[in-house]
Amino acid sequence: MAFSTTVSQRKHIKRKAPRGFLKHVFKRQKPHLRLETSGDLLVHLNCLLFVRRLAEESRMNAFESKCGVIKKEHVQAAAKVILKKSRG
């Protein structure tokens, strides 16, 4: 698998999509629906982008409050905005 090239955070970020997990969650939510094979990859992509936007928004909130650490309030405020944005 291709891992993240940025080792600045010296973490090995797994780029693998938890496909079984995603399918399971989808099944639990909508048992009457079926999810296609490549569909869950795109769901994973969507989750990635959502998390990325969330992280950036909370980072911006932290910056604005001149904080070096992301706090719960930052994440909460960011979540409100991003969830609203990603309603579709």
């Binding site: 010296r10 079926r34 569909g39 795109l42």
Partner: protein, 523 residues
């Protein structure tokens, strides 16, 4: 003497012509300077110029020459001789203007019949000429050397490195960084930043004392042994194979072990709590040992599970593994309280928080075994839940149904939470991480409160229903992303796939033409 004078004069005149014609072309080399000295030297013996290399500032020399010139010709030689050599070595070839000035001075001096050397500094002129001329000669010297310091031929003066001061600086910076236990690495860590911030002029004296950069970045402060151990574990996990589908429930549990350690390492190291680090180190080897053993078992059971079908029998596989792991978890639990008792209360409380968000059911064990639960979760939550349940009925009635859901849920969640902390690029609180989980998917046994995933599934259902289908297809996903604003006319879905997904997924998603007139995936 007269003969000598005449010969001198004859020679000097002859040479004057030579010098005059070529004075503008010749550079101010020591050779020419000496030649000029010889030409214009008085009857006294010609002394060999001392090859003294002195970075003496020129005005001083001029002043000294001025002072001494009044005394006599003999003394005149000394300042005359010294400055030319030093100045010749020190300063560059002067401009044409200077040479003409010197020539004019020289001519004047010659006319006046006084011994004058044709030094560019005009030291000889001090003897006979007016102070104004002296000044004119003195002043241009300084600006020239000041204007073009880089071209000065002064040898670079190397400051002797004061090792004591250097080490003291290192210690100060290491203290300032307040790194917790890595006194070995932090002094080195500060070096690159210091060298970068220094004066970057090309000809300024380089600080040779600073050692060549051993480039440890500052985040390496928290590069504790835990990271190495965890990375070793994760490497083994990776090496256990790119088997994707079958082993998702198996491996993510191990991934959680590594990730839990990561999160702990992160959360602990960033607040720079030394006690936490020491406690973490105590906990880490235990976890690592536990993780290694767990992994061995996992691999055995994974080979077993490979034979079986994927989703249907995963529960049974987990049960098998749970039996094998029960003694492991008990041993781990025995070990963990010992290790975690040394852990800082922050670590324990943070892990309890961490667990609270995930499984409220796990709160039942006391906080010291909470760290045990943290490690035993990846091993087998089923087995740990069974014994505590039998012993003490939990405060909340736990439904047996959601239990199998917890394990992959937790690991799937942790995956995205890790990604969140990765994308954030900033230290985060534990509470913030829980917040992320809550907003992503909150597996609640009483009903799903997952906000994001809920929205997602609802939208997909609507789109599929609108298309008259019961299967959610990639087109629905694309429509969803378009509505979210991720995909627009500038950015297409394929671009996003290329950017964010690894290559293997890209091959699956984006149709690509292969040989034999075939396209994969088939459209």
């Amino acid at each position: 003497m007269n003969v000598r004078r005449r010969s001198h004069r004859a020679r000097s005149i002859g040479r004057l012509a030579h010098v005059h014609t070529s004075g503008n072309l010749e550079e101010q080399t020591p050779r020419t300077l000496l030649k000029n000295i010889l030409l214009t030297a008085p009857e006294s013996s010609v002394m060999m110029p001392e090859s003294v290399v002195k970075p003496v500032p020129t005005p001083q020399v001029v002043q000294s020459s001025r002072r001494e010139s009044s005394r006599g010709s003999l003394e005149l030689q000394l300042p005359e001789l010294e400055p030319p050599t030093t100045l010749a070595l020190g300063l560059l070839a002067p401009g044409r203007r200077k040479q003409r000035q010197r020539l004019s001075v020289f001519q004047q001096g010659m006319d006046q019949g006084l011994p004058l050397s044709q030094e560019p500094r005009g030291n000889g002129s001090a003897s006979s000429l007016t102070s104004s001329l002296n000044l004119t000669f003195a002043t241009p010297l300084q600006p020239q050397s000041v204007q073009r310091p880089g071209l000065a031929r002064r040898p670079p003066t190397r400051r002797a490195v004061d090792v004591g001061a250097f080490l003291q600086d290192l210690r100060d910076t290491s203290l300032a960084l307040a790194s917790p236990g890595d006194s070995l690495r932090t002094p080195v860590a500060t070096l690159p930043t210091d060298t970068v911030l220094e004066d970057t002029q090309p000809f300024s004296q380089p600080l040779i004392g600073r050692s060549p950069s051993v480039y440890h970045s500052l985040p390496c402060l928290s590069h504790t042994e835990a990271e190495d151990a965890e990375r070793a574990v994760s490497h083994r996990i990776q090496s256990s194979g790119p088997r994707l589908q079958n082993h998702n429930p198996g491996k993510p549990t191990q991934l959680l072990a590594g990730k839990a350690k990561k999160v702990d390492a992160l959360a602990v190291s960033f607040p720079n709590n030394s006690s936490a680090v020491s406690g973490e180190d105590g906990v880490e080897p235990l976890q690592d040992g536990v993780g290694e053993e767990a992994e061995e078992r996992m691999e055995e059971s994974l080979s077993v599970s490979k034979v079986m079908a994927t989703t249907g029998t995963q529960g049974s596989v987990r049960m098998e593994k749970s039996k094998g792991h029960r003694e492991m978890t008990e041993a781990a639990e025995a070990k963990e309280p010992e290790g975690s008792s040394g852990a800082s209360p922050e670590l324990a409380s943070s892990t309890t928080e961490f667990l609270q968000a995930r499984q409220p059911q796990f709160l039942e064990p006391a906080p010291p075994p909470s760290t045990a639960v943290l490690s035993s979760e990846p091993l087998e939550p089923l087995s740990t839940r069974l014994p505590p349940r039998a012993r003490t009925p939990g405060p909340r009635a736990r439904t047996p149904g959601p239990r199998p859901r917890q394990d992959p849920h937790k690991t799937g969640l942790s995956h995205y939470v890790k990604l969140f902390s990765f994308y954030a690029k900033m230290p985060m609180e534990k509470a913030a991480l829980e917040m992320v989980e809550k907003c992503l998917f909150y597996p609640n046994p009483f009903g799903s409160l997952d906000k994001y995933f809920q929205h997602l599934c609802d939208d997909l259902e609507v789109f599929a229903a609108h298309a008259g289908r019961k299967t959610v297809r990639p087109e629905d996903l694309e429509l969803l992303m378009r509505r979210q604003g991720l995909v627009n006319d500038q950015v297409s879905l394929h671009v996003l796939v290329e950017r964010h997904l690894p290559l293997e997924y890209r091959q699956l998603l984006i149709p690509c033409a292969f040989s034999g007139n075939s396209v994969f995936p088939a459209q």
